[in-house]
Assembly symmetry: C2
Amino acid sequence: MADVAALAGVSSQTVSRVSMGLDNVRPETRRKVLTAMAELGYSANVAARALRYGSYGTLGVIAHRLARTGESRTVEAVVEAARAQGYTVTLVDVESPSSDEVTAAAARLSHQAIDGLVIIRAETATPDTLALPHRMPVVVSDSRFVGHHPAVGADQIDGARRATQHLLGLGHATVHHVAGPADSGPAQMRADAWRAALTEAGRDVPDVLRGDWTAGTGYEIGRELAADLDVTAVFCANDETAAGVLRALHEAGRRVPADVSVVGFDGIPLAEHLWPPLTTVVQDFSGIGRALVDLLLQQVRDGRALDDVHTLVPVELVVRASTGPAPGARRRDS
Amino acid sequence: MADVAALAGVSSQTVSRVSMGLDNVRPETRRKVLTAMAELGYSANVAARALRYGSYGTLGVIAHRLARTGESRTVEAVVEAARAQGYTVTLVDVESPSSDEVTAAAARLSHQAIDGLVIIRAETATPDTLALPHRMPVVVSDSRFVGHHPAVGADQIDGARRATQHLLGLGHATVHHVAGPADSGPAQMRADAWRAALTEAGRDVPDVLRGDWTAGTGYEIGRELAADLDVTAVFCANDETAAGVLRALHEAGRRVPADVSVVGFDGIPLAEHLWPPLTTVVQDFSGIGRALVDLLLQQVRDGRALDDVHTLVPVELVVRASTGPAPGARRRDS
DNA sequence: AGCACCGATGTTTACGTAAACATCAGCGGA
DNA sequence: TCCGCTGATGTTTACGTAAACATCGGTGCT
């Protein structure tokens, strides 16, 4: 900056004014400064600016297994929403969503230059075991943190309930559920809502089949389901798992939806192009991302924490060809 | 820091020494300082440290449509590799990979605190039109930038060639190609390699069908392909497109692979669980991510640019059930 | 003409840290 | 006993910027 000032024959403060885009600089002076800046390849030092100004223009994001669909779509939405507000995003990916790892990631991030922290999922972490940097604004996309940190989440319960009721409404006697991992909050909520919907309708509640969000275990569990001719309706905790189940059903010669109906969860772009196109509960990831950033920036700007805010983002059941009348119901029809 | 020093009854320099983990501090003094730090919830100011030290411990990443599979897997790999080297990652997502947007994103990032820049794809950008911050270390995952910036890329050409030859080897007279967007470098390379493989084998080269990486256009193009009974083999520029093509073939009643064989590209986790499981060219995304970070940090540490380095990461053709002998070949068999 | 005011620009200072240098106490050897 | 050395700690300074304040020349008014 001093070099630029010397070359342009002005003070460093004038260089600062030009670089900040203030308007109380004579056009001629501004031009001289800009020329000097270009010549020297000058650009402002961010660290110094942040030091002076007290803000970094950056939000930290802790994500868990970024390449998983829901994860990357939420992150993309957060990045997008942050950009709209003039912030960039620093990303840390954790192997497992345990308290230790999330705490370590938060510590790593707090050693970076961030103004606030978005925790995409803190599945096995609990409010008590999760240590966060002092006075760091935080939002969590996990509703178990209500009362501790502001939270944003899709309406898991409504989605799982509607998926289950959709299948019951098609005449299926009951609905089997391929769940997500036991240590996942959303997986738990979806399983609970499925169980509640069955109970409410007075139906048998089959054992939960425990998946891990991947298509691979969906396939393995699907092979067992395919072998059981009593199974006519399966609600999967996510679309990947549903893809695995579909494959297993095809391999076993069970027709979808004539013999078995399948519902997914998430609404990944590929869901529409699986065979048959998958009925699924679509989450509004970009709405979640926007809500997360809004809640976080509100705290950053006010300088104080919002404790008990909880934004519930609605979901939508999109019915496609993977669900149809129960074989029994159809038989009654004919 | 001054407060901590006062509370611990030492100088700020001693606090700094403790916080940097230097060992020339008496255990008793260290303990006092740590106690004071804990009491005041002190943590070092990153901007000041960066200002003093000249480095941020952060790499910038410019990605294009993060939620797309290949993208997010590469980003995850970069994040992972960066973490292994003690760096975090700041992410910017651009709508389109044009020079203007990438240049703007680089400018945004250079206003952030980064030590180097990873450009995941700069498809429509060219070395001439892409303006980057002065003296910023850069790597690009796009081989068209060889000679301008260090580049890392999967061996697109080998992958597309092997996919095409695999289909020809199964007895198909020719192979149709559903390409990626015309302004994408990798899409261009895959299409060129497919064309070359056909020409080399002395086969007819059908018109390129122009997709946009999505399953949606794959489906639309697939409906046309399904209507053309001469089509027996389709090589898709990525797995999503292939999923759309598979769906269109199913809807039209064309059997896969008995009537039509389909190959994808990327090796997304779902490829194995599409119906039928998709033969595809698997990219080593985490290898690409590691190579990108290695090349970048080499420049960051040496303080100088590596101009003409080009790392080619091998790909692997994984054969699954979506490809089989050409109908003609089968007929000859029987 | 003289004065008050305003806009453009320069000067000083503070942001929080860590390197470089300074100081100081204690200890061993002559 | 005194000197010099060593290790622990304190003091000064610089990193690059922008706010706050100071200055200076011109303009319009009386």
